[in-house]
């Protein structure tokens, strides 16, 4: 789990039901550090991309109002066993992570 993305997919017919959990602070930029009184800078995932066999099927754009360690579930049709599903995210600091699995 080096990527910090947990991903599960279930095939129902030709539809893949995908659930993902991404480890991320999702800091809004409006909270203050209680000790120093300094505002904690915003740090959040902005974009999540899901690809099926290398083709983008879904892009999620997140704002800071998405909860810490974002949960994102979606369905992809036209999928079959053996297909590769990739999920990657980019945050507002340009950091990224990616995870993939083979549908079965």
């Amino acid at each position: 789990m080096a990527s910090g993305i947990r991903m599960k997919a279930k095939l129902k017919g030709d539809t893949a039901e995908v659930k993902t959990l991404m480890k991320h602070e999702m800091e809004t930029g409006t909270r203050k550090d209680k000790k120093t009184g300094e505002t904690i800078p915003a740090h959040y995932i902005t974009e999540v991309k899901a690809e099926l066999n290398g083709k983008v099927v879904m892009t999620a754009n997140f704002g800071p109002a998405v909860s810490k360690n974002p949960y994102f579930a979606f369905n992809v049709s036209g999928a079959k066993a053996g297909d590769t599903l990739t999920v990657n995210w980019v945050d507002n600091e340009g950091k990224s992570a990616s995870e993939e699995l083979t549908l079965s």
């Binding site: 203050k32 099927v57 879904m58 754009n61 909860s67 369905n75």
Partner: protein, 148 residues
């Protein structure tokens, strides 16, 4: 509440950082996320505010959220040709919480979890075949999710 010079400078610095972000981020609808009203979000994200309430848009959210930091919200639609789904929390400082661009093969059915500062209407906006459809629901929040 005036804007102090320091705050202004910090904002300017932040803006400079944002502008220096890599090109990969350009697709992110920044204007829509920075908008602070429902109408402005609609304009920035969908290019208009004209939308009809539709039972073909299904918004699932709790009646009461005991913890505003984690409010499960899902949107699905039976409409054909869904291109984009937006989730707006009207009373949040930045009302647009998330938007989803559906490519070929993606089903109009997404779930995520959101932060809500206080009791608010949650609005699901779906663009299908170029037209906008909405569904909304009030979610009561007992403990807000935006404080420190």
């Amino acid at each position: 509440m005036g804007v102090s010079r320091r705050l202004f400078l910090r904002g300017a610095a932040a803006a400079a950082v944002l502008m220096a972000l890599p090109r990969a981020l350009l697709a992110w609808p920044e204007k829509a996320f920075k908008a602070n009203s429902r109408d402005d979000v609609m304009k920035a994200l969908f290019g208009g505010t004209e939308a009809s309430e539709s039972s073909a848009v299904v918004l699932n959210a709790p009646d009461i959220a005991e913890n505003g930091r984690v409010v499960p919200v899902s949107v699905s639609s039976t409409l054909d040709g869904v291109e984009t789904i937006g989730i707006i929390v009207e009373e949040n400082p930045s009302p647009l919480a998330a938007s989803f661009d559906l490519g070929p093969g993606a089903a109009a059915d997404v779930s995520t979890r959101l932060k809500m500062g206080k009791t608010s209407n949650v609005i699901a906006v779906v663009r299908a075949d170029g037209k906008l459809y909405t569904a909304q629901k009030e979610v009561k929040v007992t403990i807000g999710g935006c404080g420190g």
